[in-house]
Amino acid sequence: MRSAALTIAMAALALAAAPAAAAERLVSSLSSHVIRITPNFVGTQLVLFGIVERDGTSPQRHGSYDIVATVKGPPETLVVRRKERIVGIWVNADSRTFVQVPSYLATLSNRPIESIVSLDLARRLQLGARRTLLPQQIGPDTADVVRDDPFRNSFLRLKEARRLYVEQKDAVTFLTPILYSATIPVPAGVPTGTYNIELKLFADGALITSGTEAFDIAKFGFEEFVAESAVEHGALYGFATVMMAMLTGWLASVMFRRD
């Protein structure tokens, strides 16, 4: 039964892949599919590697291949606030809400995106944080705004400052004309969840094919335990923290007792 299902699935896969057989295919993997946040976590990096698979029918290319990898963290909704001077003090006044935008966004390529594709195609494929759709809450609707909106720019700037939005034009390297690797930077303050990678292969300024990969970032062991209990068993967590406080205080008064 199970093997029959597998055969059907494989046949379906072969059928789906059939029209693409004329062109190249991206085969890739990651150095690790899970990043564990442990007490000594200060950021890390992942390596993505793979080859551009060609078969006899693949057309001859004039130039070399280009790859753009877009890594997206789990979506989040956040608010950007602007301080304004009101009666002499600086107060949060105006704000914009960004709805379901990537918490992490890395655009990695082997050379500047502008020299890989036309600006028009780059915008259509949403290559780079500045060309990515960032919907804002506008009344009951959501829509992206003009590119030079100050809130949108500040959002990008703040995300970049925390190294959660990165654009690296030399993160992808071709070891041979078809063998590539990319380093994905993972800073210390990353949110946990599933990260999706979208790989796009270009030749002569045209999109040839794309591929996907994914990895997870999860709090692990003690960190996971603490973070999970704080959210799921708030009362118990608070009570345990108080107990810990009393124990620490009591130990100190016993250890340093002078009378």
Partner: protein, 308 residues
């Protein structure tokens, strides 16, 4: 050595945090206060979100005040009856404070409220303490005898109803001002992340005429219970108490407090009060400057929903 804080969601240097605990603990031991008014701003300065800082410091103060309560309990230098009455108000105050904290957080005005409260409260209290201490020092320099307040002097609230006799403190006052003081302490403690010892001690002495030998122990007992309540309530409503951060702070804090207490005993009373006043005033001024100067970046970002 860096350690990752699970709730604050950032790595910090364990020795820096420990040293901060030690330093604040030293000051708190020296003056017999919790030190929250110093610890909360220090954590914010370190890059920890104000909400996490306020919530976490409450558990740190619970630790240092418990250490004090044990010591004063052994000497029988606390008034349980008075503490219980203050606590009645304290519970209501803490609950109201945590509620307002949560509400202001959704409005985006929590940081402003924390800053403004620091400016107003620390500025005025610090100023009064400095002025009072300077007068006391000048008076002792000029050799004039120190004015003593008459023991039986009455103020307007001695006429209030619901009077109760507190045996340990040997006072007979209305419970209304007692509840009010308790409420205020719980309220500002929950919002500002301070135990309020530096406010409570003078209030108990000046308003309720509580004798000095029981005042610190009683104040610490009240601080302990309100801060423990705040820790639990903050854990339930906002999930912002970082237990790892709290533990490092506590260990540093209780150790520093022991050395601070010894240093404090060697100093003259009015000098000590002047020093504390200057410290309180300085923190208030620091917050004031931050509010008035144009911010380095007028934009800020806060997550509404998403991954941890």
């Amino acid at each position: 050595m860096e350690i990752y804080l699970p709730i604050a969601g950032m790595p910090v240097n364990i020795f820096v945090v420990f040293a901060m605990g030690l330093a604040v603990g030293f000051i708190s031991g020296m003056f017999g206060i919790g030190g929250g008014f110093l610890m909360t701003p220090l954590l914010i300065f370190l890059g920890i979100g104000p909400a996490v800082a306020v919530a976490t410091v409450s558990s740190h103060i619970a630790a240092s005040s418990f250490s004090g309560v044990v010591t004063y309990w052994r000497r029988r230098a606390l008034d349980l009856q008075l503490a219980a009455m203050l606590l009645l108000g304290g519970f209501v105050g803490t609950t109201a404070g945590v509620w307002l904290f949560t509400y202001l957080r959704t409005l985006g005005q929590l940081d402003l409220t924390i800053s403004l409260s620091y400016v107003i409260l620390l500025g005025s209290v610090g100023g009064l303490m400095v002025a009072e201490a300077v007068r006391a020092i000048l008076r002792s320099r000029s050799g004039k005898p120190v004015e003593l307040r008459r023991g039986g002097s009455h103020t307007w609230f001695h006429g209030l109803p619901l009077k109760l006799r507190f045996k340990q403190s040997r006072i007979y006052v209305s419970t209304i001002p007692v509840w009010t003081i308790g409420f205020l302490m719980g309220f500002i403690g929950a919002i500002m992340g301070i135990g309020g010892g530096f406010l409570l001690v003078p209030m108990l002495i000046y308003f309720l005429r509580v004798p000095t030998n029981v005042v610190i122990g009683t104040s610490m007992l009240l601080t302990l219970v309100t801060m423990a309540t705040a820790t639990i309530l903050h854990s339930i409503t906002n999930h912002l108490v970082d237990a790892i951060l709290a533990l490092i702070l506590m260990i540093g804090g209780v150790m520093g407090a022991q050395f601070g207490a010894r240093a404090g005993q060697r100093m003259r009373g009015e000098r000590l009060r002047l020093l504390l006043g200057v410290l309180v005033l300085a923190v208030g001024v620091r917050f004031f400057v931050d509010l008035v100067l144009p911010p380095e970046d007028p934009y800020s970002i806060r997550m509404l929903e998403g991954p941890q």
